[in-house]
Amino acid sequence: MPEVLSAPLIVEFPFTRSTGPVIGAFLTGLRERVVLGIRGSAGRVLCPPAEYDPVTAEELTELVALPGTGTVTTWAWNARPRPYQPLTTPFAWVLVRLDGADTALLHALDAPPPGSGDPRAVRTGLRVTVRWAGQRSGAITDIACFEPIPEEA
């Protein structure tokens, strides 16, 4: 029985995508260290912003500048990061509802693991803030990750 032939197959695509006005504005904001949300049909603020309201499909244009702080709404502890993920050391995937927003943004959280006993360990409800990337170009990765903020007194 001849051995199975195999060969490496690498697919690489450096797509350059146009962003349109809403995503373009959002990414511009990230480059300038400003997180933008957008006001939806029922008045709730979406972050990340959407071009069209997810419920009514109405075209949205009212941008809202948000602080870089927020609350973790769910998390998942990633002990073994995979290639290209935001951090190479263990981290938590999180959905973060930025203060002033009504929806959550997905990103990474650099915090101690759950069950570690550390008050800054990841948990639903943890207060977090953006850690900006040193070099920013207008991409979601301009947010390097989130990190816990000290509990307010």
Partner: protein, 372 residues
């Protein structure tokens, strides 16, 4: 497309209810024995025996098939348009009426159902396959995510399911022990399924002693990585009756999709499944069997709640995707497994569900009935 061809039957304006004369039934189903890797076979070599199986079951030849539709994803192979090679297995000369969806075969079946309902064909061959082995399927699936806000972070399929599962735990809807019990039940049920990849399971306590994969998920909460293929033949009315003594009539079928961004949705619920189920008539049917396309244990919890399933109904007697998960075929296999139970007289009313996209974003529900 959801418009009933017969205006008399619009008591409910949904198209899922099959009460018109062009009743569509599943008359044949076949699948491979799913395994981690089939590197000695090309895609068409993997699919061919399954195609021949359903044709042999019905005595049909491909020239008598009115419409062929397949579901697969070239991203699993890493080769654009590679799906066209599998058409060699169908014998597409003289030219055939054919379509393809870059989705699970359950949606290929839906397209075929539409063709049959609208009178464009009387028989359809639906097939799907997925060889996950060439690449890293967890990472490949990140390419289906929003290219601006999600894909650049490479949140793999296990990570996304973990976020969803933690939300369930936070809401008090489930816990790790209950999730492990789902894994145990599924893989022990798969002991009766010769096609399943993972058959049998350790006890809940042993499973809970294992390390997390992406917390709160452990390996047992996740589906196996599988290579596999499946095929179904659909037929209409008297043609169906001639092809099988007990056709599995599709009484309703519908699919719905939610917003893409996980942060916009309530990840603990599946309104699209519920709506598709309403449209398919699932809540009026005395279901005895349900096949759910829940690759992750927490997703079975969500789907059960969306479908109001109690313990009286048997869920995933095949073992479900936790026992074999050939991506792109796993949803079609749910329909096929449910139909096969009807064929064998083991079920009278069955529901099959298929999902697509991150965290149950898109869902299809089919309700099938076998004659007395």
């Amino acid at each position: 497309m959801s418009s009933s061809p017969d205006p008399q039957h619009t008591r409910r304006a949904d198209a899922g209810r099959d009460v018109a004369s062009r009743d569509v039934a599943v008359v044949a189903f076949a699948q491979t024995s799913h395994r981690r890797s089939t590197d000695q076979l090309s895609e068409v070599e993997l699919v061919l025996p399954v195609l021949h199986d359903v044709l042999k079951q019905t005595g049909l030849t491909t020239d008598r098939i009115g419409f062929t539709c397949s579901g697969s994803s070239d991203y699993l192979a890493g080769r654009a348009f590679s799906f066209t090679m599998t058409l060699d297995g169908v014998g597409a000369w003289p030219p055939i009426s054919e379509s393809h969806v870059e989705m699970d075969g359950a949606w290929a079946l839906y397209e075929a159902w539409v063709k049959l309902r609208t009178g464009q064909a009387d028989t359809a061959l639906v097939y799907s396959y997925g060889k996950s082995s060439p690449g890293s399927v967890r990472d490949v699936l990140t390419r289906q995510l929003d290219p601006y806000t999600l894909a650049p972070l490479w949140p793999d399929s296990v990570a996304l399911a973990a976020l969803q599962t933690q939300a369930l735990i936070d809401a008090g809807i489930t816990d790790e022990r209950a999730l492990a019990a789902i894994a145990v039940r599924s893989r022990r049920a798969a002991e009766g399924n010769p096609h399943a990849q993972l058959r049998g399971s350790a006890d809940v306590n042993e499973l809970l002693a294992e390390p997390y994969e992406v917390r709160p998920l452990r390996r047992h909460d996740c589906p196996p990585i599988s290579d596999g293929a499946a095929a179904v033949i659909l037929a209409v009315g008297d043609t169906a009756r001639a092809l099988h003594p007990r056709p599995a009539w599709i009484r309703g079928i519908d699919h719905r999709i939610e917003a893409h961004q996980p942060g916009v949705r309530d990840l603990t619920e599946s309104p699209s499944t519920r709506l598709a189920a309403v449209r398919a008539g699932a809540f009026d049917a005395p279901l005895d069997t349900v096949e759910l396309h829940a690759p992750f244990t927490g997703q079975e919890v969500i789907l059960r709640r969306a479908l109001d399933l109690d313990d009286a109904v048997e869920v995933n007697p095949s073992g479900g995707p936790l026992a074999a998960n050939p991506v792109m075929a796993a949803g079609l296999i749910r329909i096929g497994e449910a139909a096969a139970r009807i064929h064998r007289g083991e079920s009278r009313w069955a529901l099959a569900h298929a999902t697509s996209g991150p965290c149950l974003q898109q869902n299809l529900v089919a309700v099938m009935e076998g004659d007395q």
